[in-house]
Symmetry: C2
Subunit: 437 residues, 2 copies
């Protein structure tokens, strides 16, 4: 839906071909970011706070210009028939610009992960080993038409000592151009290289492809957006990718599930913010609890405006249930829709989750500790819960103060990503002439 046509497959020749040195190109901008990343890696924590303060102040000062550019994006979007939900994500008004600036200040006060010593010991021969957090270098981000991501990610990358190369959705192009220019000028104004923030939006499809093939320039690439954007980036990239986001999230109602917990948690997980990845999409009800729980939970959902897509048993126990098809089990609705199925056993629930889950978050509602612990142990997802709303899978809720995204892969980081997850480590070894025997 929000997939940018710029990510559609194209001939790589335009990207991979050698370019003249000095020519402006995605490669030249990635190289400039790489060069600047040597400086950002060495900035002190105070320098980085100063940089973020300057960016926040510049965003506030230039609010009118940002809103004007955003209006042009909105006008173009309307004339191209973009839907209301996407227009709303694209929109920046005075209040939202103020929120952008305050989000930057929120990042500025987070503890700096760079330089943190995460391990170390002396080798038997006396060499002192120390493992310290260091910035990745250059973080690439490919995302959709949400201009707030432009600022959020730049702030998070800078706070953790990284340079950043941005590729936003073309529908937000005018907004992003102004935001990137403002942030670069803010850095320049306090003596930090503006090359630490780059955008390749104006290269269209070539910009995205250059990021995905930017070996030697891009240390890690984070796609943020819909499942198909992420799939494209993961499949096509030759640089390391952190897969984020898609959440086909399940809640299991065990035989012992208290009715109040079942109603409250399912409704909260679906309704509190249906458009995000940690919202529940499918409820699996153990058969012995079906008669007791299905009518009550369906009623609570319907009272909140949710359309329930149920199997035959659910349809038999509650009214106004839309018959579910195979497709419903695999769908991340991101809307006021939910799928509901009655299963014979916890085994069947676990098998259903193995088949359809995207490995984001699943929760079981139960007072049977054996079933709770089995669920926690066997479900292979980033976050596995007992008796809590899936909406808690979130960087702020987890106490990270900010969120880069939710990793659904197993490499590097899994679950909500904070600032530390935008760093790597390196080993330092200090010796006095030691050689290996």
């Amino acid at each position: 839906m929000a997939i940018d046509s710029a990510l559609a497959p194209a001939s790589p020749s335009a990207v991979d071909a050698e370019r003249e040195p000095g020519e402006d190109s995605p490669q030249a901008r990635m190289a400039a970011a790489k060069e600047a990343s040597r400086e950002t890696a060495r900035l002190t924590s105070s320098d980085k706070v100063r940089a973020l303060e300057a960016i926040a102040a510049a965003i506030e000062a230039d609010a009118a210009e940002i809103i004007a550019a955003n209006s042009r994006d909105l006008d173009r979007g309307r004339s191209q028939g973009i839907g209301d939900a996407l227009l709303d994500r694209l929109r920046l008004d005075e209040k939202r610009v103020a929120t952008l600036a305050s989000a930057v200040r929120d990042v500025a006060v987070l503890p700096d992960p760079v330089g943190q010593v995460v391990g170390g010991h002396r080798m038997p021969n006396g060499v002192a080993l120390e493992q310290v957090r260091v910035p990745f270098g250059v973080v690439g981000v490919i995302y959709e038409a949400r201009p707030n991501v432009t600022v959020d990610i730049a702030a998070l990358a800078l706070r953790s000592g990284n340079a950043v190369v941005l590729r936003g959705g073309s529908a937000a192009k005018e907004s992003n151009t102004v935001l990137v220019r403002i942030m670069r000028e803010a850095l320049d104004g306090i003596g930090i290289s503006p090359e630490a923030i780059q955008s390749v939006d104006d290269f269209g499809r070539d910009g995205a492809k250059a990021l995905m093939h930017g070996r030697g320039f891009i240390d890690v690439l984070v796609p943020r957006g819909s499942a198909s954007l992420i799939e494209t980036v993961v499949t096509e990239s030759t640089v390391p990718v952190i897969e984020t986001g898609a959440g086909n999230v399940h809640i299991v109602l065990d035989e012992s599930a208290p009715e109040d917990w079942a109603r409250e948690i399912v409704v909260n997980a679906k309704v509190q913010r249906p458009s995000v990845c940690n919202a529940v999409e499918t409820v699996l009800v153990l058969r012995p609890a079906a008669e007791r729980l299905v009518p009550s939970v369906v009623d609570a959902l319907q009272q909140s405006g949710v359309t329930v897509h149920g199997d035959d048993v659910v349809s038999g126990l509650a009214s106004s249930v839309v018959p579910a098809t195979e497709e419903d089990w695999a769908t991340e609705y991101l809307s006021l829709d939910i799928a509901m199925k009655v299963v014979d056993s916890l085994d069947e629930a676990l098998a259903h989750i193995r088949t359809y889950s995207t490995g984001h978050t699943e929760s079981i509602i139960t007072t049977d500790s054996r079933n709770a612990e089995r669920f926690l142990a066997e479900v292979d997802s980033a976050v596995v819960m007992a008796n809590a709303s899936t909406r808690f899978t979130d960087g702020s809720e987890f106490g990270f103060g900010a969120e880069v995204g939710i990793s659904t892969q197993k490499l590097h980081t899994r679950g909500p990503m904070g600032l530390s997850e935008l760093t790597s480590t390196k080993w330092l070894a200090r010796g006095a002439g030691q050689t290996r025997a």
Copy 2:
């Protein structure tokens, strides 16, 4: 050099095409490994020790069969004109088979990383969060004609609760077939699914391609071998890869470098085991130290049988120096050859390293603490040393007890990888009906 022709580009159609269920295929074996990984993830530490003991005992019991299969590989290799160095890596004799078995027992006694609690706290609303180590699931490995890797990696993967899919070099095919069968039978004999250990060697090129495109089956893919094997795997894979190995390793001799440290460390780093990734390949000498150090260090290297490829200044200060070309600075010799260059400043040394290093290990020899700390801070490699031999970049030397490889990427892990690096984490959340406000 040791690149397997099976990794050369080929049409993906044979791999990506759908296959009939039940048909034996790389996909069927990867699916069997995925299924078995649910069991290996739940094995207790004692179960895993028992499994490794059974494998070690079986290798010892079937030594004659292993050596016979290996002889057939060696005969075929000789008739195909494989060089002596590769034949030596391929060879398994009685002593080496005994070493294989004892290496498995060494892995068995390592602490089990699975279940380790690496973090956690209570959310303000009382939900208890816990971050625990879990196995990746299925580890894929693509490697060259070294049958010891077959056993080492299977043991490390099992100890950390993973299933493994192996794709070894075709020159070791007979040896690997026997080793995999013996390990599978050993698991079966103690009631653990043999499907936890799979090989796709017999599918040739399709086996490697299936691993690289095994999304949903392969949780992480580790290439072990030459730079071009690694490059192929990193570029072609759509599954997460941990890039290991290639080491164009530098030592910088600062103006203040003591002559004895310079001689001893450079000779140790080059000569102690020249064929491995942590051996030094280029020495950069600061100009003010050139007259003092170049003749002495070149002499020490030549006495150890090393051919020195030097720039004009080095050639002017020492005899029998082969003129270095641009190519020498980029070469990972893995032999008794070394490149040597005189640079004007530490800045020039750092710039040279930025251009040519593979980000594995670099060391500076200096007594000037300012230069040492600048080098440690600015060199962007997995391991950065002052006054120690680069040969220390090694899992055993770092105290990990075993080594999966040396990661030269920044994602997930960097530097020597131990057992913990073969695990991911997941978050467990235990609540009592909490919903998000």
